[in-house]
Symmetry: C2
Subunit: 225 residues, 2 copies
């Protein structure tokens, strides 16, 4: 009944923000919950409910002013200032994130990456790749709060522990393992690419089987998982 702000709500907020940016670029001035819902793939009731949770209000009959709504969402999502992030692991995923083009524009700055492999180090790059041993000091000296873990499974928990001890409060974890963290105030968001792909594979197979007995069994109807 209380329905507080949860992960899914914040994910939707990010999507509203993106949609509003597009609308704004297209020169629109105001938007209705209907339009936003359609753009993001949720009901208009969901949009209004989400907004009310954050005390965002529009004008009855007049919808929402795009620019001011966008500013509000930016503020809620911490887009006001540049957010420094570090990456542990300069392998495939790590390097992809270092060069992820949209981060920079979106106020997310990869301050440095870290690896144990000396061959992967690049101290003089714009985004330096340093030794993993230097990570704790770097976190402390630069007051980094957010870390991305892109090291092999075997090293992930150790890296997580070191991050948290050094002051990291939030982790995006690409290692395919559940990280344990005693500190209740640390946020961990796991992203498991293999499992996401397996999910697609499962439903493709499931729909394939379904196909045969087509009109009878129309239980499974997915498009967006």
């Amino acid at each position: 009944m209380v329905m507080d702000v949860n992960r899914r709500t914040v994910l939707r907020l990010s999507r509203y923000r993106k949609a509003l940016q597009r609308f704004s670029e297209l020169g629109f001035v105001k938007v209705f919950s209907d339009n936003l819902g359609e753009a993001v793939g949720v009901t208009s009731a969901q949009v209004r409910k989400d907004f009310s949770l954050f005390g965002i209000s529009g004008n009855k009959r007049g919808g929402y002013q795009i620019d001011s709504l966008l500013e509000t969402l930016q503020r809620i999502l911490g887009k006001g200032r540049v957010q420094k992030v570090i990456v542990a692991g300069a392998g495939n995923i790590g390097r992809a994130l270092i060069h992820y083009p949209t981060f920079e524009k979106e106020g997310i700055q990869i301050a440095a990456a870290f690896d144990i492999d000396p061959a992967k180090m690049h101290r003089k790059e714009r985004i330096p790749v340093l030794s993993l041993d230097e990570m704790p000091r770097f976190i402390e000296e630069n007051g980094i709060e957010i870390g991305i873990i892109a090291v092999p499974e075997i090293a992930a928990q150790e890296v997580c522990d070191r991050m948290v001890r050094s002051g990291i409060r939030g982790i995006l974890n690409f290692a395919p393992i559940r990280l344990r963290c005693g500190d209740e105030n640390v946020v961990i968001n796991p992203v498991n690419l293999q499992i996401e792909l397996e999910n697609v594979i499962y439903f493709v197979h499931a729909l394939g089987k379904n196909q045969d007995t087509a009109p009878v069994n129309d239980k499974i109807k997915v498009n967006h998982l």
Copy 2:
């Protein structure tokens, strides 16, 4: 009440599978719903519920035989045969996926990647990077069912359309845009790395504010998002 198989159930199935592999490697022979739940981070009731959904049964009092349970999950998740997958886009994310080390071991074979940039092409590699124009023919000739979209936002919908027209039934989408697909039988799983990172940032900030009024307001208690 009917509670059919949904995305989250299948995600858990993948996690059970992973945990069972570990247990098996450690030499364990049987496992209880308790153990599995603990390993994956869910209740034992959830584990049994999930299994019953797939007609998996154990032995009252005796738990589950790890090896046979593992085989069953492998079968359900389509691990019996090699699953061929293509990647559209050989940029940062695309290349990371091409070289993702665990895919091969797990029966997922990246058959080829495609890009519009001639500079990115490598016809002679083990996993070739071909021209995007060759994609439709490749899909048809090789009977590919699963595609990964790792092209820039602007090109994503077009690539999606081409994939579906050529016979792709499932898509893992890394482009930060909601893909529209008329065909109800096509599965699309979006993975938006920026939004996942923003989510972490939000909750770190939210917990930080919470901190001040600490013992009074203990509403927000996240660890795993």
